[in-house]
């Protein structure tokens, strides 16, 4: 299988106003191993050197690192570096996918492990409440009997058109109802809104966090550290599996999207969450580089996604 090879660097630095004696961090920055995503290398480095660094996989199979920094520190930097090869996504013919009501009907009755796993993503979650207003917005796309992927692509396109990308409009905890009201936000807000629409119709959809290769404007060089972590959604379609949708860019993620983690919403998969013991405020800086290293050949793996 042809795959795009990337060098990925994600550096986060906390500057603390006054010394912090102990800090604990939970990281979800390791790209997942998937049938079409090959992780060739990955490492996490921190400064100061951690007193504790342990790895595990979480409930959703995401890789988690737990880090404790001890001793007074005013700055904490964590750098995740990976080399990842991403193959093309399988995208079914939209008109050949089942009607969306069939998918809704299946969840809740079918207890086969794939459907049961998907059913978990039909409910409200901490950042994605369910509400008839979301179902109302979605129903223009999800007309009765429409093929689920056709409807979903239409929904993604409408979100892309109706909403303005505006990094100043929201913060990490902006409620999705407010996003709907303002029609502005960033990838995280668009993903949460898309999830609220899909789940309010009873469809299983999950939040995906990862990275996106950005392409500089024509004639301009790629700026170092200018990339960002990204978020999109994934919709379950019985017999096919999970299909990724990117409402921010109105596209079907494939070889330019690197998947790190998935969950019900941002709260399940935030890249870094920390608790520190100390007083004073802190500032945060993040630098992400997704550098394409060309196309390579990877072996197909049979592991289910």
């Amino acid at each position: 299988m042809k795959a795009q090879l990337f060098q990925l660097t994600h550096a986060t630095t906390y500057h603390y106003q006054s010394p912090v004696t102990v800090s604990h961090h939970v990281l979800r920055v390791t790209p997942r191993r998937l049938p079409r995503q090959f992780r060739l290398e990955h490492r996490i480095d921190t400064l100061p050197v951690p007193a504790t660094l342990s790895h595990r996989t979480d409930y959703y199979g995401n890789e988690v690192a737990f880090i404790t920094i001890e001793g007074a520190h005013r700055q904490f930097t964590v750098t995740s570096q990976a080399r990842v090869a991403v193959g093309p996504a399988f995208i079914p013919e939209p008109a050949e996918t089942p009607a969306w009501e069939i998918v809704r009907g299946l969840c809740g009755y079918d207890r086969s492990s794939a459907v049961l796993e998907a059913t978990e993503f039909t409910f409200a979650s901490p950042s994605v409440p369910l509400d008839p207003v979301f179902a109302d917005y979605a129903s223009a796309s999800f007309v009765p009997g429409r093929c689920i992927l056709e409807a979903a692509l239409d929904l993604t396109a409408r979100i892309h058109t109706d909403f303005t990308f505006d990094a100043a409009a929201t913060h990490v905890a902006t409620p999705v109802l407010e996003v709907l009201g303002n029609r502005r936000g960033v990838c995280q807000d668009f993903a949460h809104f898309a999830l609220a629409c899909l789940r309010s119709l009873g469809l299983p959809a999950r939040y995906v966090s990862g990275y996106l290769e950005t392409i500089p404007p024509p004639g301009q060089p790629r700026l170092a550290g200018a990339d960002a972590s990204h978020a999109w959604v994934s919709l379950f379609c019985p017999g096919i599996g999970w299909i990724d949708l990117d409402p921010t860019n109105n596209c079907l993620p494939s070889m330019r999207h690197i998947t790190t983690a998935w969950g019900r919403d941002y709260t399940d998969v935030s890249p870094i969450r920390g608790v520190l013991i100390g007083s004073g405020d802190h500032t945060l800086s993040v630098a992400v580089d997704v550098i394409p290293l060309g196309v390579t050949e990877i072996p197909q793996r049979a592991e289910p996604s």
């Binding site: 604990h24 979480d58 409930y59």
Partner: protein, 834 residues
């Protein structure tokens, strides 16, 4: 509810329960109106022997005992919250041995069942896949905590304590109204109720011989040891409390003291190297077992809810690494969802191969189509409740108007899996003693099932909460309100009486931790400072009110001016302007005693003392707690009638109680680090006060002759002076008594000597440099005092000249000492989520 009894000679004639609109409910006492059930007769006969007056007197005893013991329940109100006294009805709920046997078997079965269900849902989830538990019950349930998935419990025991709220329904059977699986409240209150009744009505207890419950404390303690991850024979067991503002904080402190646990708040604990530690004065000490009273979602701000810091960041990671046992396991609140109830009979047959013994009210979970339809069609016969926590109050559709009803139907239609419909239950009534009469009131019985390391055992007793005006018995049932003890009759009742059954002492439990958490030391230090400060204020006010009370004629007012000057310099009253104003002085003094307004006035200090003491009440003896409670009652509002007379009475009482408190502390507290910090607080406060008093004296210029005597009075050293000098007090003699005389416990020199001794005992812990600096500071204070003594020897005028500046310097250094102590030992800076 009921009229007076018609049998004046009998204290307990009793009244039948009221006829309800929906037919009769079960009554605990009367099978037919006014006919006592046979197994209650013994109780009534025994109580009857006490007589009507005797019974009322015992009830009053119980009330006073609970008040003095400081058994309270913290109730939040619109201002801040208040400690409400715990209420205990004199009449216990009596349960026959046969009936209890059945209940016991049902409870053990239910605890075992719920434990197995938790093991599966937080493990392989076969029950979901095989259809025994519908997926939404878990996946849509906010109480299902994904970070706790696969976080194995020690010995597969998720429930160290299980508790059920039971109600007896019209058919006389016990029904489970609610399962409490995360951090059940009430075990400590139940123990306390029994301890009080055994002292208040010992003869009744001897007559009935209820099964003892206080042994359960030992079961609890042994089991907690058993669950230690096992790196030591003498595990450290902590009780994690949300703090003094939690409604059941009394119980947390009470159980910690009885079980020898270290009472901690989240801030006292820290995770290092994937292990859990408590911050003590001696540095970090490993914690092996946590008995938690913090709810599931708040246990670890790193992985669970980040908006609260009641828990410990990294706690789940420590549990995941197998380095600490948390009881109950985090996540166990899942089964408090009432939506599980209809599935328990099937689960019981599937997992245990037997029928579920204890019934629950018929429950329909609307996540199923047929059940949803049933609920919609029978709405008015049912109670509608949230399927998942947090379970707000239930709504009773029968009480709704048409609009309210259709709104409810629509809400259910939108997310049916979030609702259940439940059969309405009529609770049984129990007799309740009100004044001289017996009332009949509905109640809910909470019972406790403990895991003893091998199996579940049921505490043969419980906690009854009496509901006012026919509550439905559904959660949330507030802790506050009338409670009852529960007496389970022994097997084969009527055997030989047990010796001293009436006053069984609490089992002695060894091994209480000697480590003092930093927060506890902080509170003890301030308890010392505040009680001392209160004493200073009270003595000053008492003396000054005495003076203004005597002096009414203009000539003797020359005394009041200098006095007001001194009190003004001490910040207790407004400084005099030109002439002394007797009226404003009196007003200032009364305000100091009675008003809430002046920060560090009497009422404010009493409040601060109460808070500091409340936070360390697991370390204070019952008698000490009595005293502190009595102190609080002095903070009554300003009396009407004769303010001056009433006020001096209040101040006398305060002086005596404060003296009793310091005597208690001197005679009863182990000389550990806790005491050292309490006494350092007292010494620092007294030394600062004396220094500032003498500075004020030294600066009073031409009024000097008028202020030396008040200074002696305020510093409680009149007798010392009189014994030593047979003259009127002069500045030189007063200076000797209050500054230099190391044998006068009220002198500056005495305080400094004590501080030197304490400084040598301070734990060096992890900050030897900081402790070194503290000792240097104490040395400097001592030097300063020494220089003053040498310079003033035989030279009264030099001494008088040096007095103000020396005192000022010493007071400043003492304040610095207090700050440094805080920095070195108590800087438990709180955590934040980033």
């Amino acid at each position: 509810m009921s009229g007076p009894t018609t049998q004046p000679a009998v204290a307990l004639g009793g009244n039948p329960p009221p006829e309800g609109g929906h037919g009769r409910c079960f009554d605990e006492c009367f099978s037919e109106p006014a006919t006592a059930r046979p197994y209650r007769q013994a109780l009534f006969d025994s109580l009857d022997r006490l007589g009507r007056e005797g019974l009322a007197a015992r009830a009053e005893n119980a009330r006073r005992m609970l008040k003095e013991l400081g058994v309270t329940c913290f109730v939040h109100n619109e201002r801040a919250g208040i400690d409400e006294p715990w209420q205990l009805d004199l009449l216990p709920l009596v349960i026959g041995s046969e009936e209890w046997r059945e209940l016991e078997a049902g409870l053990i079965q239910r605890a075992a069942l719920l434990n197995l269900v938790l093991g599966d849902l937080y493990g392989k989830q076969r029950l979901v896949r095989d259809g025994f538990v519908p997926a939404p019950l878990v996946f849509a349930n906010p109480a299902y905590l994904r970070p706790c998935q696969a976080l194995a419990a020690r010995n597969n025991t998720f429930l160290l304590t299980y508790s059920a709220d039971l109600a007896r329904t019209a058919d006389g059977r016990w029904w489970v109204m609610a399962d409490r699986t995360q951090a059940p409240v009430g075990f400590g209150f139940a123990m306390q109720n029994r301890a009080v009744l055994s002292r208040v009505i010992p003869e009744v207890m001897r007559d009935l011989q209820p099964r003892p419950v206080l042994d359960s404390l030992r079961v609890r303690r042994d089991a907690l040891k058993h669950f230690s991850p096992g790196h030591t024979d003498n595990p450290v067991i902590a009780l994690l409390t949300p703090g003094p503002r939690n409604e059941a904080y009394f119980e947390h402190a009470y159980l910690s003291r009885l079980l020898g646990l270290t009472l901690v708040e989240g801030d006292d604990l820290t995770v290092r190297d994937r292990r859990l530690w408590v911050k003590t004065l001696n540095g970090l000490r490993r914690v092996d077992v946590v008995l938690r009273r913090v709810s599931d979602a708040f246990c670890d701000p790193l992985e669970l809810r980040g908006d609260s810091l009641l828990g410990v960041p990294g706690l789940l990671e420590a549990a995941r690494a197998g380095n600490v046992c948390i009881g109950n396991a985090v996540g166990t609140g899942l089964l408090e969802s009432p939506a599980f109830m209809p599935f328990l009979p099937g689960l019981c047959r599937h997992l245990l191969g037997e029928d579920l013994r204890l019934p629950s009210p018929a429950t329909w979970w609307c996540g199923q189509t047929r059940e949803h339809t049933y609920v919609r069609e029978h709405l008015r016969e049912l109670v509608i409740r949230a399927a998942f926590p947090p379970n707000g109050p239930a709504s009773t559709p029968a009480a709704l108007d048409t609009a309210g009803e259709s709104a409810l139907v629509e809400r259910i239609r939108q997310s049916p899996h979030e609702f259940i419909g439940q059969e309405q239950v009529r609770l049984s009534c129990a007799p309740v003693l009100t004044g001289h009469e017996i009332d009949s009131k509905p109640f809910v019985l909470r019972v406790f099932v403990l895991h003893n390391g091998d199996e579940f055992v049921v505490v043969p007793g419980g906690l009854v909460r009496v509901l006012e005006t026919g509550g439905d018995g559904l959660p949330p049932i507030p802790l506050i309100g009338l409670s009852k003890d529960v007496w389970v009759m022994p097997e084969g009742a009527g055997t030989s009486p047990l010796p001293h059954a009436g006053s069984a002492p609490l089992p002695h439990i060894e091994g209480a931790s000697s480590d003092v958490p930093s927060r506890a030391a902080d509170n003890l230090f301030w308890l010392g400072r505040y009680t001392e400060r209160l004493e200073e204020i009270v003595r000053s006010a008492r003396y000054a009110l005495g003076c203004v009370g005597e002096d009414t004629d203009a000539s003797s007012q020359s005394r009041l001016g200098p006095l007001q000057g001194i009190l003004g310099r001490l910040g207790l009253v407004a400084a005099p302007e030109n002439a002394v104003n007797r009226i404003s002085l009196i007003q200032d003094l009364l305000s100091l005693v009675y008003d809430e307004e002046p920060a560090e006035g009497v009422r404010d200090l009493l409040q601060r003392i109460h808070l500091a003491a409340f936070s360390v009440r697991d370390r204070l003896s019952t008698d000490t707690w009595h005293l502190l409670n009595r102190l609080k009652t002095h903070a009554q509002p300003r009396p009407g009638g004769l303010p001056l007379v009433g006020t001096s009475g209040t101040l006398h009482a305060l002086v005596l109680d404060l003296a009793a408190f310091s005597g208690m502390e001197m005679e009863n507290m182990t000389r550990g680090h806790g005491w050292v910090f309490l006494d350092m607080g007292r010494r620092i406060e007294r030394a600062i006060f004396i220094a500032r008093l003498m500075e004020a004296v030294g600066r009073s210029g031409r009024c000097l002759d008028w202020v030396v005597e008040p200074a002696l009075e305020i510093a409680d050293s009149v007798m010392t002076h009189r014994r030593r000098y047979f003259t009127e007090p002069r500045l030189s003699s007063v200076m000797e008594v209050l500054v230099e005389d190391a044998s006068n416990p009220r002198s500056l020199a005495f305080q400094v000597a004590c501080l030197k001794e304490h400084a040598a005992l301070l734990p060096t812990g992890q900050n030897p440099d900081g402790v070194g600096a503290l000792r240097v500071l104490v040395g400097q204070i001592d030097d300063c005092l020494g220089r003053f003594s040498r310079a003033g020897t035989g030279d009264a005028s030099t001494a008088a000249e040096l007095l103000p500046s020396t005192c000022e310097e010493i007071a400043g250094r003492l304040a610095a000492l207090s700050e440094s102590l805080t920095e070195v030992y108590f800087s438990h800076i709180s955590s934040r989520v980033s």
